[in-house]
Amino acid sequence: MRADDWLDRPEEIPPRESERDGEPLPRYTVKLDVFEGPLDLLLHLIKKEQVSIYDIPIARITEQYLEYLRHMEELDLTIASEYLVMAATLIYIKSKMLLPRDSAQAAEAEEEEDPRRELVQRLLEYQRYKTAAELLWSKAEREQAVFTRGRLETDDANPEVNATLFDLFCAFQRAMERLKERRELTLAREEITMAEKIAELRALLEREERLDITALFEAARSRRELLILFLAVLELVRVAVIRLVQTERFGRLLALRVRASAEIAM
């Protein structure tokens, strides 16, 4: 499958009346968001102009590139800074290629580097990954057409998915967001330390095999307490007192006691 088939590529408007009357400037309507960045746009222009990637007519491509950016401006779209950096690069290359070489330098000319070289390397590399992305997609598409057996009762009876620290961080972030929404009215300064928090968690673990971390996060009364709780959970994971699991992906985070309670007391 080619990129063009599944990406909405910009359409070129046929020449207008006025252009047929001797105004040769071609007009293009392009949508910025269909390009994945300046490299993608350049590849598109190179393909459209049917020029070789190894011998890019810099002046022509630069002109088209800038034309494209101007259109974006006319449409009042914000141009991502990456596009402007590339514009500067193109103009720089163009100017370097325009510089006359004096005879003293001519001798070294062979060793002199083509100012386009670095850009070509980047384009080629980017193009490789773009092709790889298409291939990955065709693989994923095939896999979407493949089914395994339906769920068994035992799958639900044992629904723990290993949770990662990333999940822990997400749960923490969500709790932080919610805390922001609530208005704070704490007057007395809380003086809970991390050691106290860890002791508190350990005490809870003495009684219960599993703790609902998401619920603990939600119960935190202040930003400070939430932070200390987060760090305490991290610490307990680090020293392997608890193991984090989820009952479903992006579900509630649970902490499971790893060691026997007697060992926790140590």
Binding site: G37, P38, I53, K139, F166
Partner: protein
């Protein structure tokens, strides 16, 4: 236990496993079975599936074995399940995934260098979909996180291991557009 006796047992186990089941796991369940026999039975079973022209196939995925339907029958299955293929990943996410798959472990700035655009959101999407995971930090200034593909990636993209990805150099020919 002979290979012929072993085959139906393995088939039943692979069928029941909710994720691709590895040879290790099978060997643990069947400690009485000689490892070489296990290997031979698995291979024989796989070949039978291949040869029989049935609606199911036995494949090696993410280092394990899995029984699944053959892709060519998805239309009929979807009719029954009343589902549609899930939405595709955005091009930005796919490109980022390709870069990570081939250059792993790789940091966000390195990904952005190759793609030429900010890729933070794409990386976040891929993390949320569990297609990639953090693989430690790079010992340079700022200690940026290194990313690599996950087991879920292998399963979703139907790969047994990363060596099944075509080499990136193969794309040189394919892609070199222009003339």
């Amino acid at each position: 236990m002979t290979i012929e006796e072993l085959k139906p047992i393995l088939e039943a186990l692979i069928f029941v496993a909710s994720e691709p089941i590895t040879e290790e796991e099978l060997a643990q369940i069947l400690p009485e079975v000689d490892r070489a026999n296990l290997d031979a039975a698995l291979e024989a079973l796989r070949q039978e599936y291949e040869a029989n022209g049935r609606g199911l196939e036995l494949r090696r995925i993410a280092g394990g074995y899995r029984i699944s339907t053959r892709p060519e029958y998805h239309d009929y299955i979807r009719r029954y399940l009343k589902t549609r293929p899930s939405a595709r990943l955005s091009m930005a996410a796919l490109e980022t995934l390709a870069v990570i798959a081939y250059k792993q472990p790789i940091t966000l700035p390195e990904i952005q260098e190759i793609r030429g655009v900010n890729s933070a959101r794409a990386v976040k999407t891929l993390l949320e979909k569990r297609l990639i995971e953090p693989k430690g930090r790079k010992p340079v200034v700022g200690r940026p996180i290194l990313y690599g593909t996950s087991r879920e990636f292998l399963i979703q993209f139907g790969l047994n291991d990363l060596s099944e990805l075509p080499t990136i150099e193969d794309f040189e020919e394919l892609g070199s557009g222009g003339s």
